[in-house]
């Protein structure tokens, strides 16, 4: 389907993007035509605190100046909202209109969304960190409430009654003393061009007034996605476009020494681009480009890297970097003195791929000093800046349009493919699509960094944790604090999340709840070991060590829903428990496993999540199920094998992600907390999968898994080691 073709039309309130409708950015708002436009201003540093971008955005757009969310009410009463957030499966295409429908008092069917288009949408830092509802949603709702207030003022003038006498139902303002007197939002917007800029003072509805928030709604993009109509970056077509296949290094750190393109001579329609750091063959058919790239004879000097997936841990442990104290309290020396039983352990976590089903894709059309790029990206504004820098053009000359994104998980905050497409379009003078092969995806991915976490701890003579000395290397600070009531403690972080430049043998980056899963795996495994050492049931042990009401609530709810029978571990039942906090939410999980010949089968998982106010309970449940399921991978199978800069896992034949047959019976419980603000949804739901399975394996076998993934070989080795020890 070509861009601009009717087939791109969406029936589900998702606006299509068309090549023939490119706006001139200066009349950004004017071109929206008649109607009421409400712009909301957020605090300036909004979203800056948790950037996951590979290249942080340094320049804010001047136009549209100074606002971050806006919506337009057309003469027909239809509401169009514009946001720099993107839809990658996590569901804002449903939850954002749901919020607007609530606070604006319109039907959700009268709302459509324009997302991730840098010419049409206000600036946004990026879609990550479970921040769409948590931070952006609050302002978004306030903007809707303000828009409603403006409409009520207009209605008050029109109907000549005070605002206090007006009510709104589904976009119709009604005089409560004479319900026959009414005016629609569309009528109020008619023949006008009203532009209101407001500094947002949050005054949206409270839970008692909710009609739509909190109601489970089905996804609004499903119809397009089940009929093949949904457009992703790789589906956009432009006349005269070329498909590129890029020459890749055999290893990270390898350098191109020589290239012989003689074999390409005579292949019809092939375009060769040869730049010092970018060599590509292009053709009007992607498969021909793909066949042809293998005919290039390239020689490389090898990578200087001498690390592999086994020696990496020593590399991480030996790194001498300034430690950062994340938290501390009491007196560690005193704690060590009080400890009558010591327990020290080291926990390892491998490099893990994002492996979204959609590989990175972009279509770039560079014309003179302007560029339009359709990209699968989590941060269109970041991509815009990266592209502008690569092309040497002013940032506003680049428009990035984000169609549906086929999964991100942090991996699409890195926009190399968009830069490649733009450079190749500039070089060839034609629109160019770059869609990475799965092999390129595994090579260019910014993996979740491998990590080492060392914990020293001890129990006092009452069986309580006397001290906790926690050192995390390269998993980052996020969720590294211990959560519990421990008198003497210290949490130290070394290397942050990504480490210094060049420290890892290849690029690393944010991966769903960055660092949180590794920290939860180490902490909850260790607390479980301490419970065993104390001879106390692991739920009871955690509750005894707890002083946080929200943590206690999720743990107790998990035990209640499961029908937990207390027993000290290992009980032989194969039951594990874990709890944690991430992105403002609290989670607890209980799992049951069966281990046969080292292979862990997860039979049942119960997940309790308290995430504050829930906008769409159906969407929240899906995110929890998705988190648990995706988490089975990093827990059981996913790890990148590599040596001397070469990535040995290049496709799904050796890199094994969760399958239908792995998925346990899943029960999700989302606890009501409507009076609290909304907290994170998509990320907290993945952080405990590793820990809860490790604890269940220990409960089954008495074997402690200290490294994720818990592959069959590792489980068998641990069983053998235990046999030897006994």
């Amino acid at each position: 389907m070509s861009a601009g073709n009717d087939q791109v039309q969406s029936s589900q309130g998702v606006q299509p993007w068309t090549a023939d409708a490119l706006p001139s950015r200066r009349d950004f708002i004017r071109r929206l035509g008649a109607g009421l436009v409400v712009c909301a201003v957020l605090r300036p540093a909004f979203g800056a605190e948790e950037s996951e971008a590979a290249h942080p955005v340094t320049v804010r757009p001047n136009e549209p100046a100074g606002f971050n969310a806006f919506l337009r009410i057309g003469e027909d009463g239809h509401v169009t909202c514009f946001t720099g957030k993107i839809e990658m499966g996590q569901g804002p295409v449903t939850s954002l209109p749901q919020m607007l429908a609530e606070d604006l008092d319109v039907s959700i069917d009268d709302i459509s969304m324009v997302m991730g288009d840098t010419d049409l949408c206000p600036f946004d830092m990026g879609t990550w960190g479970s921040m769409t509802t948590r931070f952006f949603g609050t302002v978004w709702r306030a903007a809707a409430a303000e828009a409603r207030a403006v409409l009520l003022e207009l209605a008050s003038e029109r109907l000549k009654v005070p605002v206090s006498q007006l009510t709104v139902q589904q976009g119709v303002v009604i005089d409560s003393k004479d319900p026959s007197r009414r005016v629609t939002y569309g009528q109020l917007a008619q023949g006008r061009r009203i532009e209101r800029h407001i500094a947002v003072k949050p005054s949206p509805k409270g839970p008692a007034q909710f009609r739509i928030i909190g109601k489970p709604l089905l996804r609004r993009d499903s119809r397009d996605k089940v009929t093949g109509k949904a457009v992703y970056a790789g589906d956009v077509r432009l006349p005269g476009m070329l498909y590129a296949r890029i020459l890749r290094n055999p290893a990270h750190g390898a350098t191109l020494r020589s290239i012989d393109a003689a074999a390409l001579k005579g292949i019809e329609g092939i375009v060769l681009v040869q730049q010092p750091d970018l060599v590509a063959v292009l053709h009007e058919l992607p498969d021909i480009a793909d066949d042809t790239i293998s005919k290039l004879r390239a020689e490389f000097d090898p990578s200087p890297s001498r690390l592999d997936d086994r020696t990496i841990y020593a590399h991480l442990e030996q790194a001498s970097l300034e430690p950062k104290i994340v938290a501390q309290g009491g007196d560690l020396q005193e704690g060590r003195r009080l400890a009558v039983k010591r327990l020290d352990a080291t926990y390892l976590g491998s490099y893990v791929a994002h492996a979204a089903m959609e590989t990175h894709a972009a279509l770039a059309h560079v014309e003179g000093d302007r560029a339009t790029v359709w990209a699968s990206t989590q941060n269109p504004f970041g991509a815009r800046e990266e592209i502008a820098r690569a092309l040497g053009v002013p940032i506003p000359n680049v428009r990035v349009i984000t169609p549906f994104v086929g999964g991100g998980f942090g991996g699409k905050s890195f926009n190399l493919q968009a830069v490649e497409a733009a450079r190749l379009s500039k070089a060839t003078g034609r629109p160019v699509q770059v869609m990475w092969t799965r092999e390129e995806e595994f090579f260019n991915d910014t993996f979740r960094p491998a990590s080492v976490i060392k914990i020293q701890s001890g129990l006092d003579d009452a069986g309580r944790i006397a001290f906790w000395d926690y050192e995390v290397r390269f998993a980052g600070d996020r969720a590294s604090e211990h959560l519990y009531d421990i008198p003497n403690h210290r949490t130290t972080s070394i290397g942050g999340f990504q480490g210094p430049a060049g420290f890892h043998p290849f690029p690393v980056g944010a991966w769903r709840a960055p660092g949180s899963s590794n920290n939860a795996f180490a902490r909850e495994s260790h607390v479980d070991q301490l419970a065993s050492l104390a001879g106390v049931d692991p739920v009871e042990f955690r509750l005894r060590q707890n002083k946080d009401a929200r943590l206690a609530r999720v743990l107790r709810a998990a035990a209640d829903h499961w029908g937990w029978q207390p027993a000290k571990g290992p009980s032989g039942r194969g039951l594990g428990v874990a709890c944690g906090a991430d992105a403002g939410s609290y989670v607890a999980a209980i799992a049951e496993v069966e281990v046969k010949e080292g292979r862990i089968a997860v039979k049942r998982v119960l997940w309790v999540q308290e995430m504050g106010l829930v906008i769409n309970p159906a969407g929240a449940k899906i995110q929890v199920e998705g988190g648990i399921t995706m988490g089975l991978g990093y827990a059981l199978s996913e790890e990148i094998h590599f040596k001397d800069g070469a990535i040995h896992d290049t496709n799904f034949d050796s890199y094994s992600i969760p399958r239908f047959s792995w998925v346990p019976k899943i029960e999700t419980v989302i606890l009501e907390a409507d009076d609290a603000p909304p907290y994170g949804g998509g990320e907290p739901a993945i952080i405990l999968t590793g820990a809860v399975i490790a604890n269940a394996v220990h409960d089954a076998l008495g074997v402690r898994m200290l490294e994720i993934p818990m592959s069959p070989a590792r489980v068998r080795a641990a069983i053998a080691a235990k046999g030897t020890a006994a």
Partner: protein, 160 residues
């Protein structure tokens, strides 16, 4: 060497001049403009490129276009009839059986072939039948629910 390949595509005859050894996936996505069929791995590991050839699920990344000469090919765009969604599509919507949607075309067409062969499957049979299709978002539980409901709908039953 280009050759003429003819087949029925989504109910309509097509005749294209194309190098016969080209991959069906890319001919569909580029020459024929049907982008609902997705590239995910290129080596028959993920199922995102699944189409129906004479009602059987085929990984279009791994077959030549000439292999469908004379055959009936259905892609995700051709599954709905006269604007009416297929019961599997309806069930995927009703169960929110997707997130990012990139594996969805392949899931639905794999389920179509599976249900043709197993009109009254157990849950375990659905899991087994779908096991070679990958989903990264973790919609698995809902996909199984949707396939079971679609099976009932096709049989003319209504699942509670």
């Amino acid at each position: 060497m280009p050759d003429t390949v003819s087949f029925r595509l989504n109910g309509k005859p097509v005749q294209i001049s194309v190098a016969p050894s080209r991959t069906l996936l890319w001919v569909l996505r580029t020459d024929l403009g049907l982008t609902g069929t997705k590239y995910g791995c290129g080596i028959v590991q993920c199922g995102a490129c699944t189409v129906l050839v004479d009602h059987r699920a085929v990984r279009s990344c791994s077959v030549d276009v000439q292999s469908v000469h004379g055959a009936e090919v259905v892609t995700i765009e051709g599954l709905a009839q006269d604007g009416r969604l297929h019961p599997i599509q309806e069930a995927f919507i009703a169960h929110d059986a997707l997130q990012c949607g990139f594996c969805t075309s392949g899931m639905i067409l794999t389920a179509y072939d599976f249900l043709r062969r197993h009109p009254n499957p157990t849950r375990e049979e659905v899991v087994d039948g779908m096991d070679d299709n990958l989903c990264r978002c973790g919609a698995h539980v809902r996909i199984v629910d949707a396939v079971l409901e679609a099976a009932a709908a096709i049989r003319g039953e209504k699942l509670s």
